[in-house]
Every structure is written in structure tokens, then in C-alpha cells.
Symmetry: C3
Subunit: 137 residues, 3 copies
């Protein structure tokens, strides 16, 4: 059985990192599934989902690492197509990927103690986002 | 129920980035599954699958980012084993990973407007590749 | 049907890369599932799972790439919270992600010839680790 839900959220601009653990866990609990797999997918080419210890210092460290690896001020050929200044956003999303899998055990997400699920807005402004959450049992 | 298919393709040399969205969507449609999960896996240690807006500028930007992060001309210890000049290819594949998950809704891949699924040839020459596509419902 | 197992292992310090292919394949074989999907998740915020050709040269190349992309000796704000010297470990784990999917065909992991599944200890000392392995059929 697969239950599919959509999580909507509005990001607060570039590199807004949002802890979505509780919202995903609520979706899992509402399914009443005890043992299964939770699959998460962000439906955009300029955002990502991953796992981290969600604390302010590390949130800043992640932002700095993204800028160090994929600098915003390089010349991107993508600019020639749309001129919307988000070439770096696309590259970051393609490397981080839009998908994530978390096991479900005993009716809840089987995360480690320091693991939280985060959505990362990689685009250059606030966006309304759609995240698909599927629970398989 | 899990339906397993194999997608075969021949890449055109190093950093050939191939849009495989239509081929994956065809596989999904042939299953007649309305609601489920699609899992994609490239069976090689020198290639990757991910999601991007497939347009020529961004395709070039991704190639440049791969070369910036994992330069081809560094000394790789892997060369000592096989002397086949693809140490950088392996590193790139290990970081990008071989797997991808896309939800299936209303009988089709639930991608965002600008998301296409791509196969990236990371090895240094044309190769025949095998990609496993599984649809779970 | 989803069968959930836990794989416990003790890492031997920072950047210990452990080939867990045989252990995962044993779990798959014990389920007697012929055709399905295997999902793997490391339950920690300072480790990762991925796929690589497991040979000593490439193991060293991966370690050097991690250090080049996410240097250990940068100033990380995460240090202000815990002072435990593993800011770089968290960043590396967040970029590499804790999850992996491998197809199961003919009762076994459908890996390519040169693909092995590895656990990477990203924290700065030996740790006891828990990896969840789920087989879906």
C-alpha cells in the first residue's frame, strides 16, 4: 500500500533551510502505518531535501559550504537562457538531488537522535513549494 | 506490486548528459499504475542519475562544476590499479550516487515543471549502460 | 511486503570506509525475495552510505576528495554549540545523504560488476553505528 500526501510550504528566500521533520512525522502518524518506508521528493529544480542536525551554527555552515562549492558569482551559461540569476541554484539542486528516503519503524520516522529532515530553498527568492511524501507499507 | 524494467542506452563519451525522462515515463505508463513510486538505478560505478532543467547552458554548467569540484588532472591513486585514466570518474559517481526516486501520480511521473531526469556518463569514453527502473504500487 | 532489518557495525575512526555489500546481500537472501527493492539508511548525522569500486587506491582518493571539498580545519560555527571538533563531519554527511536504493533481481542485489556498497564514517572517532535495511517486494 502506498499513501501519497503533498506538503506545501513557502520559503523565505535564498538558502532558507526549513526543518520539516515534524510535518513529515505527522503525515506518517496519520497513516497509522507501523513498519514501512517514507519517500520524500521536492518538485522543483532549485531546491533540495536532506538530513542534518538542525541547529543555527550548522545551518550557517551548510550555507557557506554551498557558496564555497558552487559560487553564486561565477558566470553560468544558464543565464543566457532566462537571465534570472539562478544558475548557481540549479547546479546546487542537481548535485544535492530532490529525493530522500527515511525508514518508518514503530509508527514513526526511524531517524537517529541528531537527524532532522530539512528542505533547502536554493532559488534566489521566496517560493511556494510542493513536496510529495509517500508512505509505503 | 513491483514491476522491474531495464533501460539500455549507449552514451556518447565523457560527460554526455542524456535526458531520459520520456523513456522513464513510457515505462511508468506501460505499467498502468496510477499512484506509486518510481525507483531508478544506474548499474555502473562511473555514471549517475539526477534531476535538472535540461537546457544546453545548464548542461554545460554542470560539466564545468564537475570538473571544478573533481578535477580530471589530479593524481588519483586509483590509477595505480588499472591505469585507465578514470579515477576522477569514479569519485564523481561515488559523490553523485547511482540512485533516484520520483513519485508517480495520476499515472505519470510527478516531476515539477522544470525537472527532467538525466543520466550522466562520467567515464572517459562511450559506454553501453544498463539502468534499472522499478515501479512500486 | 516490507521486511526491516538492522545492521550494526563499529567503525574504526574518521574516514573508515567499510564494504557492507556482503552483509546487505545476506539480508536480502535471507528474505527469499526474488524481485524487489532494497533501501538502506544510516541512522546518524555524521556518516553516509554510497556505492563505489572498493579498492584501496579509490578508498584513499575518496578521503582526499572529502578533505578537499569540506576541509577539516575551516572554522565551523557548529563548534560554538558542542566544541567536539566534528563540524566538517556534519557538513559532509548532509551533502552525501544517509540513504541509498539498490534494486533486487533474481534474489540478489542488482549491482553492476564494479559497484560495492560502502558505509563511510565521517565522524572523528570510532563509533557504533546502526544501519536500517529494508527489502520491499
Amino acid at each position: 500500500m502506498i499513501i501519497t500526501k503533498e506538503l506545501k510550504l513557502i520559503s523565505e528566500g535564498e538558502l532558507n533551510i526549513i526543518n520539516i521533520t515534524d510535518k513529515i512525522d505527522d503525515i506518517v502518524r496519520e497513516t497509522n502505518i507501523r513498519n514501512g518506508a517514507c519517500l520524500i521528493f521536492t518538485r522543483s529544480s532549485t531546491s533540495a531535501v536532506t538530513v542534518m542536525e538542525f541547529e543555527p551554527g550548522l545551518v550557517n555552515d551548510i550555507k557557506l559550504a554551498l557558496e564555497r562549492l558552487f559560487p553564486k558569482n561565477l558566470q553560468y551559461e544558464h543565464e543566457k537562457k532566462w537571465h534570472d540569476g539562478n544558475g548557481h541554484s540549479h547546479i546546487r539542486a542537481t548535485f544535492m538531488k530532490p529525493d530522500l528516503y527515511i525508514p518508518v519503524m514503530n509508527g514513526s520516522l526511524a531517524l537517529g537522535t541528531w537527524q532532522q529532515i530539512v528542505f533547502i530553498e536554493l532559488d534566489i527568492r521566496s517560493r511556494e513549494r510542493s513536496i510529495v511524501v509517500q508512505v509505503i507499507s
